[in-house]
C-alpha cells in the first residue's frame, strides 16, 4: 500500500483550485490492479463510468446537483476517454456519502468507475460540494474531496471535479476548468463582423468582449489569464493590442512604424513576441511589457511570422518562407541558431509549442486541403490529426493532450460568410468534437490552468 502518488497528485491539484476550498475527506490506496486509463496508447476504448446526480438538501440544491453531474458527465464524455452511463439504468439511485456504495448494484451495470456527491449549504452561505470516486470492482475509493464555493460558482466546481476524476484515472492533468477566447463571426463574407468572445471550454458562460465595430483577429491569453493580446484594426491601422479581462481596459502595444500582428505571450508573461511589417517585409520582434523595449529577432527578406515560445522560454518556433515555401523554423529566444524543422510534403504554418514542450502543433496545406498536425520539436514524428477544406489555428489544452482549432467550410458564393466552427481533437486524432458556440467562430485560444 502506498499513498505517495495520490498525495503528490493531490498536492499539485490543490495548488490549482480556488483558495481555501479543498478538504480531503478520505484517501485509500489504489489496488494492485488499479483502474486506470492509459492515454499514451493510440485509441482507447472509453471507460464506462456511472455519475450519479449529486444529492441536495432541498429541491434547489438537488436541481443544482443534477446539473453538476451533467456537466461532469459532458466534460468526461467529450474527452473521448469516458463513457458515462445513463442514470436511468442505475439500480442504486441515491448512494449515501456516509456509507459504502452497494458495489454489486454497480458491478451488474458493468460500471467499473462510480462517482457520486452531495451539496450542502455551509453556514456562511457558500455551497459545500463533496464527491467520491470509486473503483467498483476493487471496492476501493480512488478520490474523495470537498469544495466550498459561492452558489453561483457551481459550474466551475463541476469542472474541477471532472478534472480531479480525469487526473485520478489518467495520471494527466485535466483541462476542464479552463476558458476559451475566440473570434465570433457574423454577417456577409465581404463585411464580416468579428468580435472577441470568452467562454468556458464547454461553451458555457459565453460573453462578448468587443462590439464588432473594429475588426479583431487572433486573440491569445496571457499566462495569468488576466489579459489577452490580439490584433485590432481600431484606428484604421492593424496593430497588436492588450486587453485586461476584468477592467476591459485596452491599448495598443508599442509604437511601431508599421502593422504589428500575430502576438503571443512568453511563458512568464513578461514579454510578447509578434510580427512587424515595414515596407512589405515582415520580421519577428519581442516586446518587453514593462519597459516596452523591443528587440528584432529575425532579419530576412522573407515573411517571418506566427512565433510561439517553447514552454521554457528558451526557443521560439515560427513560420517563414525564406526557403522559398512556407516552413517551420526554430530559433533561440534571442534570434540566434535558426534551423528549419519541417521537411514533410506541403506548406506549414502557425506552429504552436505544446505547454508540455514535447510537440509542436501546426497548420499544413497540401494538395488543396488544410491539415492540423503535430511534430516533435526536431521536426520528426509528424502526425496529422484533422483535415478538411480549411482547418487552421491549433491551440493547446493546458495539459498538452488536446488541441482546439477552427474548421471553415467552402463558401457557396451566396454572399454569406462561410460556416466556421471550433473543434477539439485529441492526440490520437480519433476524437474530434465540435465546441458549441452561438454563431460562427474562429481563432480559438485555450486558457492556461486557472491560477
Amino acid at each position: 500500500m502506498t499513498t505517495a502518488p495520490i498525495s503528490a497528485a493531490l498536492r499539485s491539484f490543490s495548488a490549482r483550485i480556488l483558495a481555501g476550498m479543498v478538504l480531503v475527506l478520505a484517501l485509500l490506496s489504489p489496488a494492485a490492479a488499479e483502474l486506470r486509463i492509459d492515454i499514451t496508447r493510440g485509441v482507447v476504448e472509453p471507460l464506462p463510468i456511472a455519475i450519479v446526480p449529486f444529492e441536495g438538501g432541498n429541491a434547489q440544491m438537488s436541481a443544482t446537483g443534477e446539473e453538476m453531474a451533467s456537466v461532469i458527465s459532458a466534460d468526461l464524455e467529450r474527452s473521448g476517454l469516458f463513457r458515462p452511463l445513463d442514470p436511468r439504468s442505475f439500480l442504486q439511485q441515491r448512494p449515501s456519502m456516509d456509507a459504502l456504495p452497494r458495489f454489486a448494484d454497480w458491478r451488474v451495470l458493468n460500471a467499473p468507475a462510480l462517482v457520486y456527491g452531495r451539496i450542502v449549504a455551509a453556514d456562511d452561505g457558500r455551497l459545500k460540494v463533496e464527491f467520491r470516486l470509486w473503483d467498483v470492482f476493487a471496492e476501493q475509493q480512488l478520490a474523495g474531496l470537498a469544495y466550498f464555493t459561492a452558489p453561483s460558482n457551481w459550474r466551475r466546481i463541476a469542472h474541477i471535479i471532472a478534472d480531479a476524476i480525469y487526473k485520478r484515472m489518467t495520471g494527466e492533468d485535466g483541462y476542464f476548468d479552463t476558458r476559451i477566447v475566440y473570434v465570433a463571426e457574423s454577417g456577409p463574407a465581404n463585411k464580416r463582423v468579428k468580435r472577441l468572445a470568452l467562454m468556458d471550454q464547454d461553451g458555457a458562460n459565453h460573453r462578448f468582449l468587443s462590439d464588432g465595430a473594429s475588426l479583431v483577429l487572433t486573440p491569445r491569453f496571457s499566462p495569468s489569464q488576466q489579459e489577452i493580446t490580439y490584433l485590432s484594426f481600431a484606428g484604421g491601422v492593424p496593430r497588436v493590442f492588450i486587453r485586461d479581462l476584468d477592467s476591459n481596459r485596452q491599448g495598443a502595444v508599442g509604437d511601431f512604424p508599421g502593422m504589428t500582428f500575430s502576438p503571443r505571450y512568453s511563458p512568464e508573461g513578461e514579454r510578447l513576441v509578434l510580427s512587424l511589417a515595414v515596407d512589405g517585409n515582415t520580421e519577428i520582434y519581442s516586446v518587453d511589457l514593462r519597459t516596452r523595449a523591443t528587440r528584432r529577432l529575425t532579419n530576412n527578406a522573407a515573411i517571418d511570422t506566427s512565433p510561439s515560445y517553447a514552454p521554457d522560454g528558451r526557443q521560439i518556433v515560427f513560420n517563414s518562407d525564406r526557403g522559398g515555401s512556407q516552413q517551420l523554423y526554430v530559433m533561440d529566444a534571442d534570434g540566434g541558431n535558426v534551423r528549419r524543422i519541417s521537411y514533410g510534403q506541403g506548406r506549414y504554418f502557425t506552429p504552436v509549442w505544446s505547454p508540455r514542450g514535447d510537440l509542436i502543433a501546426f497548420t499544413k496545406i497540401l494538395g488543396g486541403k488544410f491539415h492540423i498536425g503535430v511534430m516533435n520539436p526536431d521536426g520528426s514524428g509528424e502526425r496529422i490529426l484533422a483535415e478538411g477544406f480549411h482547418v487552421e489555428g491549433p491551440t493547446w489544452a493546458p495539459n498538452g493532450r488536446v488541441l482546439m482549432f477552427f474548421r471553415k467550410d467552402a463558401n457557396d458564393g451566396g454572399g454569406g460568410g462561410s460556416r466556421s466552427r471550433l473543434y477539439t481533437v485529441d492526440l490520437s486524432g480519433h476524437n474530434e468534437r465540435e465546441v458549441p458556440t452561438p454563431q460562427d467562430a474562429s481563432d480559438p485560444a485555450w486558457s492556461p490552468i486557472h491560477p
Binding site: P238, D279, G280, I303, T305, F389, K408, S418
Partner: protein
C-alpha cells in the same frame, strides 16, 4: 529580382519625368484641404482647386486634384491590380494599370492614396496579413518609382478578411488576390 526590376523602373520613370515634368511642387497654397490620414474620402469645401494660378513669382505651380473626382477617375482607369497565388509580383497587366494610376496621381497633386493589400482565403490568417502587406508595398514601390512622393501613399493589409468576390473557387480567389488604390483626401505637398 524584384528589387533589381524596381530600380530599372525607377530609372525609366525618372527619364519619363524629365520629359513631361508633370508633377510640380506647391509648398504654398495647399493648406486648408485637411482630411489627412483617416480612411474615407474627404470632401473639398467648394469648387475645384485644380489649375489655380499662383502667378509667376518663382513659386512652382501644382494641380491640386479634387479627391472625389480623382477617385472617380481612378476607378475608371483601374484602381485594382491582381496577383498570382502566393505572389506579389506585378505582371504586365498590373504594371499597365499602375502606370495609369501613377499618371493620374502625378497630375492630381495633394491627393493622397491608401493601398489596400488583400489575399485569397487559401492561406493562414497571419501569413495572409503579411502577404497582403507585401502586395500593397509592391504597388507603393511601383508608384514611387514612377515619381509619386511616398508621403502621399499609405499601405494597409487586410489579409483574407475582405474578399471582393465571395466564393470558394479559383475564379473568386483570383479576384481576391488584389491591391486596391483608394483616394483618402488631400494634404499639402505632392
Amino acid at each position: 529580382m524584384l528589387r533589381k526590376w524596381l530600380m530599372l523602373a525607377a530609372v525609366v520613370v525618372a527619364v519619363a519625368a524629365c520629359e513631361t515634368s508633370t508633377e510640380e511642387t506647391a509648398a504654398t497654397g495647399a493648406s486648408g484641404l485637411g482630411g489627412s490620414g483617416s480612411s474615407g474620402v474627404s470632401t473639398i469645401p467648394s469648387g475645384s482647386l485644380s489649375g489655380q494660378p499662383y502667378g509667376s513669382t518663382g513659386v512652382q505651380r501644382s494641380a491640386l486634384g479634387n479627391p472625389a473626382e480623382v477617385e472617380r477617375e481612378l476607378v475608371s482607369t483601374g484602381d485594382t491590380v491582381f496577383f498570382a497565388f502566393d505572389s506579389f509580383s506585378l505582371d504586365t497587366v498590373a504594371q499597365g494599370t499602375l502606370d495609369r494610376q501613377a499618371a493620374l496621381l502625378l497630375k492630381s497633386g495633394g491627393v493622397n492614396v491608401n493601398i489596400e493589400g488583400h489575399t485569397d482565403e487559401r492561406g493562414t490568417r497571419e501569413y495572409n496579413l503579411a502577404l497582403g502587406e507585401r502586395r500593397a508595398t509592391a504597388v507603393k514601390d511601383y508608384l514611387v518609382a514612377y515619381g509619386i512622393n511616398p508621403s502621399r501613399i499609405r499601405t494597409i493589409s487586410y489579409g483574407e478578411e475582405r474578399p471582393a468576390v465571395v466564393g470558394s473557387n479559383e475564379a473568386a480567389w483570383a479576384k481576391n488576390r488584389r491591391a486596391v488604390t483608394l483616394v483618402v483626401g488631400g494634404t499639402a505637398g505632392s
